[in-house]
């Protein structure tokens, strides 16, 4: 299925696209900026910046409230963004898209609204040893309040989930399986369809953390038959403070709200209130309107580029990076080979702490992340305190990878014993 693209072709198109991202023209000191921290947050194209600027200059008003022109236009833009996101994810209806501040809030929404109403002592929630903290901590908090059991699918040293015990891990007590679609540390693309089918076979619901998949590959919520999908706008060319939760309609209908306030109610009496329809029931208070509009523009932008193309570009480039990085002295790559990973590579270099690597790379204009990437259990599993991570997007080129590699070689030289 994967389109074959060679690294040279990748570079030509990406070089053009770079020009649509004003920040990528920046220099760091006297060096050309090579931005390889896309898994933390992506850069924003002109199209998104323009949409947000236009929103504030021309349409700004509160939504779903006024009957004046601006309020109607702002509401239309806000709702148009919902439609655009639904289209990107192949959701049956835009009513199944709830705006949030991002993946973290989306997961907390599921924990607090669905989890509180559906989990009880004796139940099991299954996550994995590969999760971002945002898909661990909300379940630990809820477990401590409710008393269900939190279990983990173990992580193998090959960087893949160890599913050998899946039959006992997913059982009749399992009520929810919540897992990371693509690992933000290992790059591993998890077998979502298989895990979802196994969960559904015992009647469990599935929450997919799509923070690192939605920006980088086609994600079709209907083909996956996933119950909940959480993702962040800022990792897919949209603004910070934007994101969404997709959920199946009947789940959204049955879930109680988790935050109360304006916009989420139909009727408020002193004795009790009635909830608004979905998705508004979950959007209490004035939402981040400009951010939603920006995210809608980002969804359009990615759709126009084509998620298949973005995926193929990154897979080709990560193959190139995997090979080049493998040649750096003392460099060890965490996680699976290029065939099973998305466009990011975490690594360590013998005798050099990731923070020192990142600081030296910064002096050569290359931005990478160093630390535990909000995934301490993975680092514990591999017995390392931290790692460095280079994460790609469609605007990265083979030249960017070359600059990374020469920066790393420079670091090795500085630290040579």
């Amino acid at each position: 299925m994967l389109m074959e693209i060679n690294p040279a072709a990748v570079t030509d198109r990406a070089e053009e696209l770079k020009r649509e991202f004003p920040i990528l023209a920046r220099r760091i000191g006297d060096k050309r900026l090579v931005y390889l921290d896309n898994a933390a947050t992506s850069q924003k194209p002109e199209a998104v910046l323009q949409a947000m600027d236009d929103y504030y200059r021309l349409y700004n008003a509160n939504v779903h409230r006024g009957v004046h022109t601006l309020s109607e236009e702002a509401t239309a833009l806000y709702e148009q963004a919902r439609v655009r996101i639904a289209r990107l994810l192949h959701a049956p209806s835009e009513k199944q898209i709830v705006f949030t501040r991002g993946t973290t809030e989306s997961i907390n929404l599921v924990a607090n609204a669905w989890g509180r109403a559906n989990l009880k002592p004796g139940d099991e929630v299954l996550i994995t040893e590969m999760e971002h903290h945002s898909n661990i901590v909300p379940w630990q908090i809820l477990r401590d309040q409710i008393g269900f059991t939190l279990r983990y699918i173990p992580l193998g040293l090959d960087g893949l989930l160890d599913v050998s015990d899946l039959d006992s891990l997913i059982n009749e007590r399992t009520k929810l399986v919540s897992f990371i679609h693509v690992s933000n540390v290992l790059g591993t693309i998890n077998p979502a369809a298989e895990l979802i089918a196994a969960a559904h076979a015992v009647g469990a619901k599935v929450l997919l953390d799509g923070a690192q998949s939605v920006p980088h590959m086609p994600v079709d919520v209907q083909a996956l038959d996933v119950d909940f999908l959480a993702f962040s706008g800022h990792k897919m060319c949209g603004p910070t403070g934007s994101g969404a939760l997709y959920a199946k309609r009947e789940l959204l209908e049955a879930m109680p709200p988790w935050m109360g306030g304006g916009d989420m109610i139909r009727e408020v009496k002193m004795s009790a209130s009635k909830w608004n329809a979905v998705p508004y029931k979950f959007e209490a208070g004035t939402p981040s309107i400009a951010e939603a509009v920006g995210l809608g523009a980002a969804a359009e932008y990615l759709s126009a580029l084509g998620m298949d193309w973005i995926n193929a570009h990154e897979r080709a480039l990560v193959g190139y990076a995997y090979e080049r990085l493998g040649q750096v002295e003392g460099l060890r790559i965490l996680g699976p080979g290029p065939d099973q990973r998305s466009g990011l590579i975490s690594f360590t270099v013998d005798e050099i702490h990731p923070h020192d690597l990142s600081a030296i790379l910064d002096q050569t204009g290359v931005a990478v992340r160093a630390g535990h990437h909000c995934a301490q259990p993975i680092h514990d599993r591999f017995g390392i305190p931290a790692s460095a991570r280079a994460s790609l997007y469609f605007y990265n080129t083979t030249e960017d990878i070359d600059q990374l590699v020469s920066g790393l070689e420079h670091a090795v030289q500085i630290f040579a014993w």
Binding site: H353, I360, G371, F415
Partner: protein, 126 residues
């Protein structure tokens, strides 16, 4: 451009001074930087208000580990009251480099552990 990694710092990182453990420490303090996972333990032996022996242990980046090593050399024979007055400027002078706000935390971690130890406090004295 590699000012941050001038030779003296790399030398302390590669060959840390007084790294290890004291059998009979009077002051023992462990601290971490949760942002990056750097860890430092500082152990001191005190006689008549003076530091007569010192050791550190830990793991982390070159900046935090080299700073700890340098600090151990500085501290020997010093009066504990004097150590209490050491501050950020003292560390920066000792390192002799310019340092940004993020890496400053790495450089200050050993001092933070040291001062918490000598003050007998869990909190960073402002």
């Amino acid at each position: 451009m590699d000012d941050l990694y001038r030779e003296a710092i790399l030398d302390h990182y590669r060959h840390p001074r007084r790294k290890g453990h004291l059998e009979d420490a009077d002051i023992h303090y462990y601290d971490t930087n949760p942002f990056c996972g750097d860890e430092i333990t500082i152990e001191l032996k005190v006689e008549d208000g003076k530091i007569v022996d010192a050791a550190f242990d830990g793991q982390g980046c070159a900046i935090s580990q080299a700073t700890a090593s340098m600090l151990m050399e500085e501290i020997l024979g010093k009066d504990i009251e004097e150590v209490k007055s050491w501050d950020k400027e003292f560390i920066l002078d000792m390192l002799g480099i310019e340092i940004g706000p993020v890496r400053l935390k790495c450089a200050l971690l050993p001092l933070k552990a040291l001062k918490a130890g000598v003050w007998g406090l869990d909190e960073w004295p402002e």
